[in-house]
Amino acid sequence: MKCDVNIITGRTIDQGANIDNKLSSDYFNACARCEIGAEDLETLGLLEGSHVKVSTKFGSVVVSVALCDGNMRGVAFIPMGPWANAVVNPDTHGCGMPGFKGVLGSLEPTDEKPLDLKAFMSLCRE
C-alpha cells in the first residue's frame, strides 16, 4: 500500500550528537529513518523499524520507518542528512535555499535495506 506524504527534513538531537561522528552506526540509525504518524503507519501496514521506500520526483531512498505521534496525518519527517537529501528539491527558487521542507512524495513498503553512508556516497562518485 502506498501512502502520499508531505516530506519535511530537520535537525534531531541524535543527528546532532553524531554530526562529527558520521561514519558510525549511531549516525546511520539517527538519520536513515522516516517518522510518520500512527494513521500513516497503519495505512502502510508496517511496524516500526520496517523498511520503507520514500519517493519524490527528485529521487528515492530506502530508510527505516518510525512512529511519531506529533506528526499530522500525511506529514513525514526525515532527519537532515544524506538519506533525506536523496528526495528533497534542489531548486532554490532564486534565494540559495533548496527545498528541504514541503516536498510531496510517497511511501511504500520495501524489502530493500537502507544503504550505509559509505555505500550511499560511493553512488555520488559514479
Partner: protein, 430 residues
C-alpha cells in the same frame, strides 16, 4: 586539571559556563554541557593524516606538504572555484578564507545558504529588531518558538537564555514567562510550552500575515481558519503578544526552509515591528553551527556582503545566482575547497553529484560524507578545544574560544595561510 568557564564550540548558543576536566592532555569530563557539546568535547574519531585520492580511487596518507601542494595546484588551475563551509571554525580562519577567495577570484559561501541565508535576505528587506540573549533572559515574559525545536537543536538555550532562569526583572524564572510554540509537528519544545499552535506545513506566511492583520485592527478580514488554526486561537495569541511586557520571537528552519522562505522571515520581522508599536518585542534567529554568525560578520566587514562572488574583481552578492547550490546545480564549479562543514551530507543529492565531479579539497577535524568524495583531505585542530579563536554567538556577541588541550594538528588558519602563500602572485596583499 579543571578548566572553568570554558566555552562550548558546538551550536550558536556558545554556552560559556562549562567545567572541563583534563588529565594527561585529554578531556575526561565535561560538566554542564548538553549532549551535543559534551559529545564534541569528549571527542569522536578523527582523520589521522592528510590524504590524497589515488588513481585507484582510494584515499592514501601523504605528508602535510604534499596535501597542501596538491590543494594549491587544484585551486590555481580552477576557473570557477567555490570556497564553502566556514560555520565551525574561527573568525580568524574565515578571514583567511575570504582573502584566499580574493586571490583566486572565487565564490565564498557559508552553510548559512542552507540554513539562515533567507533570514539575511529578510533582514536586508526589513531590519532586525533584536536584543542580546542577556536582555531576553532578564526581561522577556513571553517567548515564541516558531518553526524551531531548541530542545533538540540548542538543548541549553531555554535553561540559559529563554526560559527557566530567573532574570533581573523576572525573579521567578519560568513562572514569570509564557512559552508559545508554533510548528508543523508536536515537538518536545511544543510539549513543554503553555500554548501550541499546530499549523499546516507551508502555511507560516498566511498565519503570520493573519496575526499582523489582527494586531493592526483588521481582524475582520481574517477567515475562520488559517493554516489549520482557528481564528479564535490566532486572536488569543495576538492578545498574548500585545499584552506582554517584553516578547521574544525565536525562529528556525521551519520558517527559512518552508515554501515562502525569505518572505516568511520578512513577514515575521514585520510582525515584530507591528508589535513594537504596542509593546516591546524582539526577534532572533536560532543559529545552528557555533560560528555561522561569525562568518556573516567577517565576510560583511571584509567584502560588504555575508557571502560573496569575487570572480569579477569586485565583491558581488546575489543569492540564488552565486549561492553554493545554485552554482552546483548549474554545474559551474570546477574545484571546491570545503572548510569545517559537510556539504555532501547536507546538500541535495543532485548538488552533491556535481560537487563530486570536480576536484574537491576538504579541511576538517572529522571524517564525514564529504571525505568520501574528496580528492585531498587535510585534518585540522578543533577550535575551542585544541586551538583558540573568536566566534560570534547567535545574538552577535563575540567570544574568545580557549584552547583546552594541546594538539599536533595544525589549525584551519595555519593550513589556509600555507595555501595562500602557495597561490599568491606578486602584488597580492596577504
Amino acid at each position: 586539571m579543571e578548566i572553568t568557564d570554558a566555552i562550548c564550540s558546538f551550536c550558536g548558543s556558545l554556552c560559556d559556563d562549562l567545567t572541563v576536566k583534563v588529565e594527561d592532555n585529554k578531556i575526561v569530563d565535561v560538566r554542564r554541557a548538553c549532549r551535543l557539546g559534551a559529545g564534541k568535547m569528549l571527542g569522536h574519531e578523527r582523520i589521522n593524516s592528510p590524504m590524497i585520492r589515488n588513481e585507484a580511487g582510494k584515499l592514501e596518507e601523504v605528508s602535510s606538504d604534499s596535501a597542501i601542494d596538491r590543494a594549491s595546484q587544484i585551486l590555481l588551475h580552477a576557473k570557477r572555484p567555490l570556497l564553502y563551509g566556514w560555520a565551525s571554525t574561527s573568525c580568524e580562519a574565515q578571514s583567511k578564507g575570504i582573502l584566499l577567495g580574493e586571490i583566486l577570484g572565487a565564490v565564498v559561501d557559508s552553510t548559512a545558504s542552507v540554513c539562515h541565508g533567507p533570514t539575511t535576505l529578510g533582514v536586508q528587506e526589513k531590519g532586525l529588531p533584536t536584543a542580546s540573549l542577556g536582555q531576553i533572559k532578564n526581561r522577556a515574559d513571553l517567548i515564541i518558538f516558531w518553526g524551531c525545536n531548541p530542545i533538540h537543536a540548542h538543548p541549553r538555550h531555554m535553561s540559559r537564555y529563554s526560559g527557566y532562569l530567573p532574570g533581573f526583572f523576572l525573579d521567578r524564572g519560568r513562572q514569570n514567562r509564557k512559552f508559545v510554540t508554533v510548528d508543523v509537528r508536536m515537538t518536545e519544545t511544543a510539549a513543554i510550552s503553555d500554548e501550541f499552535l499546530q499549523i499546516e506545513q507551508g502555511s507560516d506566511y498566511v498565519v503570520l500575515s493573519s496575526l499582523r492583520a489582527i494586531i493592526n485592527g483588521k481582524g475582520d478580514l481574517v477567515p475562520d481558519v488559517v493554516g489549520g488554526v482557528s481564528k479564535e486561537e490566532l486572536m488569543h495569541l495576538s492578545d498574548m503578544m500585545r499584552s506582554c511586557r517584553f516578547g521574544a520571537f525565536f525562529f528556525g528552519m521551519g520558517l527559512t526552509q518552508s515554501k515562502a522562505k525569505y518572505k516568511n522571515i520578512d513577514c515575521a520581522l514585520s510582525l515584530t515591528n507591528d508589535l513594537n508599536t504596542r509593546t516591546k518585542f524582539v526577534i532572533t534567529p536560532l543559529r545552528g553551527h557555533y560560528n555561522v554568525t561569525g562568518f556573516g560578520q567577517v565576510c560583511s566587514w571584509q567584502t560588504g556582503f555575508p557571502a560573496v562572488d569575487l570572480s569579477r574583481g569586485a565583491p558581488y552578492y546575489n543569492p540564488g545566482e552565486m549561492s553554493a547550490n545554485d552554482l552546483l546545480m548549474r554545474d559551474e564549479v570546477d574545484a571546491s575547497l570545503v572548510v569545517a562543514s559537510d556539504p555532501a551530507a547536507h546538500f541535495p543529492n543532485a548538488s552533491v553529484r556535481n560537487l563530486a565531479k570536480s576536484p574537491l579539497i576538504q579541511i576538517d577535524p572529522y571524517a564525514n560524507a564529504t571525505t568520501e568524495i574528496a580528492d585531498v583531505v587535510i585534518p585540522t585542530a578543533i577550535v575551542g578545544v585544541e586551538t583558540e579563536g573568536t566566534a560570534y554567538r547567535m545574538d552577535g556577541l563575540s567570544l574568545r574560544l580557549r584552547k583546552l588541550v594541546d594538539s599536533d594538528y595544525p589549525s584551519d588558519e595555519e593550513i589556509l595561510d600555507k595555501i595562500i602563500k602557495k597561490v599568491s602572485r606578486n602584488g597580492d596583499v596577504c
